[in-house]
Symmetry: C2
């Protein structure tokens, strides 16, 4: 069946959450949001393109930072209300310069930093 981004289930703001995962290591890098047009752009260009909720504009990941995400494969979940993007990530995915945004673990009830910024 041909994939049509408009058949996904978007929330009341027209957005769908996207998990970006390193295609080689399996590391979960970040979660961000796309609208239908961002999904289409991502598939057309191979450059992962989100919708920035804070800036209310398209966000071609790495366009200003150089930390590009190249799409390897896009997957849809059973409810069609979430996407998984397998990506090749250039450098850090996180704006704090860490490889992943999930650098804080809860251990014994304490927030523990488990990842340092990349040099």
């Amino acid at each position: 069946m041909a994939f049509d981004p408009s058949t996904l289930k978007f929330d009341d703001k027209g957005l769908i959450p996207v998990v970006a995962q390193d295609h080689a290591t399996g590391e979960v890098l970040m979660v961000a949001w796309m609208n239908a047009e961002a999904v289409a752009k991502t598939l057309e260009t191979g450059r992962v393109t989100y919708w920035s909720r804070s800036r209310q504009s398209f966000w071609i990941k790495g366009e200003t930072s150089g930390h590009v995400q190249t799409l390897v494969e896009l997957r849809v979940d059973c409810d069609r209300d979430c996407l998984l993007a397998l990506v090749e990530q250039e450098g850090p995915a996180c704006h704090t310069n860490r490889r992943s945004c999930f650098y804080t673990a809860i251990r014994d009830g304490e927030e523990t930093e488990i990842m340092s910024p990349m040099v």
Copy 2:
């Protein structure tokens, strides 16, 4: 710093998205939602507990199906508006009986099933 679930950033429905990842293989199994109380219950019990948006009730994963998710580690992202749960998953995570909910890939513009239900 002691972790307090109320310091997370919840959406306008009081929910936060949670990525469940197999702690051993790195496979992304599913994405679901928690409210602050579900986060607290998950940490207290070690059984991953979501908030079911369709049923509007707590959803202790596997309580009826037996496909339990045991928490290995909970992580918070840089914006505090998304969680990553590293889990030990008993059997399939998906209600379709597949290991992961992300069993549909977009390949050459076509939806392609890449995973079969578990026996």
